[in-house]
């Protein structure tokens, strides 16, 4: 069962066989969502994140087939290296990832339906936060201000900003999960 195999075992199977579609699919299924997240964190947009996932998976598959992934205990380190290199190139616009034929890699098949937060519910939940906490989360994630900048603007300490931001996100998640449960 490929689902239970370690990452290194999947890579070993891909390297040893001329065709290991199950192992390749499982490796993609495992890493595609994580690479997308890396892309969102470092490249910000969904389009860039999807481009990154597509190109990194192709690099990883090629390397696995050629037996070039040496550290089987830490396949994620190879993936991380590919993420860093390709993210840098996407940032510099050296690569607008070439659309890949579905038979080469159908990325959509490996990305699950991601959790989406309803903006309407979020709006309702934001009104339940106190004014200062609401300002902290919106300044952090909308205006992309640092904890130091927010601290100065709201006359708080940076540590205080971090505590308020963390608590506010927990409150929002709790509120959103209640709204979900309350929906018919």
């Amino acid at each position: 069962m490929v689902e239970n195999a370690a990452d290194g075992e999947l890579v070993r199977r891909i390297a040893q066989s001329e065709s290991a579609p199950d192992a390749e699919a499982e490796l993609c299924r495992r890493f595609a969502p994580r690479i997308r997240l890396y892309g969102l964190r470092h490249l910000k947009t969904e389009d860039n994140a999807a481009d990154l996932a597509q190109s990194v998976l192709l690099v990883v598959l090629e390397a696995a087939r050629a037996g070039r992934i040496r550290e089987l205990e830490h396949v994620e380190r190879f993936v991380l290296g590919a993420c860093r290199n390709l993210a840098q190139r996407i940032r510099q616009r050296e690569v607008r990832v070439v659309p890949t034929a579905p038979e080469a890699l159908d990325l959509g098949a490996y990305l699950p339906d991601f959790e989406r937060v309803s903006l309407a519910e979020l709006g309702r939940c934001l009104t339940k936060l106190d004014q200062r906490s609401r300002a902290v989360v919106l300044l952090s994630f909308q205006a992309e201000r640092s904890a130091d900048e927010i601290a100065e603007q709201l006359e708080l300490s940076p540590g205080n900003v971090r505590v308020l931001r963390h608590r506010a996100l927990l409150q929002l998640r709790q509120c959103l999960s209640h709204s979900k449960g309350a929906r018919p």
Binding site: D7, R30, F31, P33, R34, I35, L37, Y38, L40, R41, H74, V75, E76, R77, V79, L80, C83, F114, E115, R116, V117, S118, L119, A120, L122, G123, R124, L126, T127, Q131, V137, L138, S140, F141, Q142, E144, S146, A147, R162, R165, H166, L169, L170, L172, R173, L176
Partner: protein
């Protein structure tokens, strides 16, 4: 699916808030790429952070509207008077429909709050205290996802004044979405 060294929720929030030193970011990048449990938790934080980045408050300032336009969003603005029933049409071509609630004496206003109700059921959809306002009125940023809620909207604007002569105005705005 377990992790022997789970990333704390504080760290994840700082990671997504871009508030960690680069060596810590590198460490988390590696861990999250290799760990299904922590990656799933990170995805939950990312979904909330992404929604916060996309969120537009329902009551906005003029400056916020200028920023939205600068981001490339297409806005359309209409003025409304109290006690007047006037339809708002959210056209396909626009991203934010701005309702300017006018006809209020806001010169002496200390605080303004807005209650949004479904007109026919009276159900409160939203209540926001201390909303921004200026001499031209109160600006409501109506967004496409509001179509999922009731369309027969009544905005109740409460103005508190120092002298105590408070005022409440009602705006009846049935909505339709193209």
């Amino acid at each position: 699916m377990t992790c022997a060294t789970p990333v704390s929720s504080e760290e994840l929030v700082r990671y997504w808030a871009r508030d960690l030193p680069s060596d810590e970011v590198d460490r988390l990048d590696e861990h999250l790429l290799g760990c299904a449990t922590c990656s799933a938790e990170s995805a939950r934080v990312a979904a909330l952070v992404g929604a916060l980045a996309a969120f537009i408050p329902p009551v906005v300032t003029r400056e916020a509207l200028r920023e939205l336009e600068a981001r490339g969003l297409r806005l359309e603005e209409h003025a409304f008077l109290p006690a007047q029933r006037k339809r708002a049409v959210f056209r396909r071509e626009i991203d934010v429909l701005v309702h300017r609630l006018t006809g209020l004496d806001l010169a002496q206003a200390q605080a303004v709050s807005v209650i949004v109700r479904a007109e026919h059921t009276g159900h409160v959809l939203l209540e926001v205290q201390h909303v921004p306002f200026d001499a031209s009125g109160v600006l409501i940023a109506c967004q496409r996802h509001f179509r999922d809620g009731p369309h027969d909207i009544a905005f109740e604007v409460r103005v508190s004044r120092a002298a105590g002569a408070d005022e409440t105005a009602l705006y009846l705005i049935p909505h339709s979405f193209e």
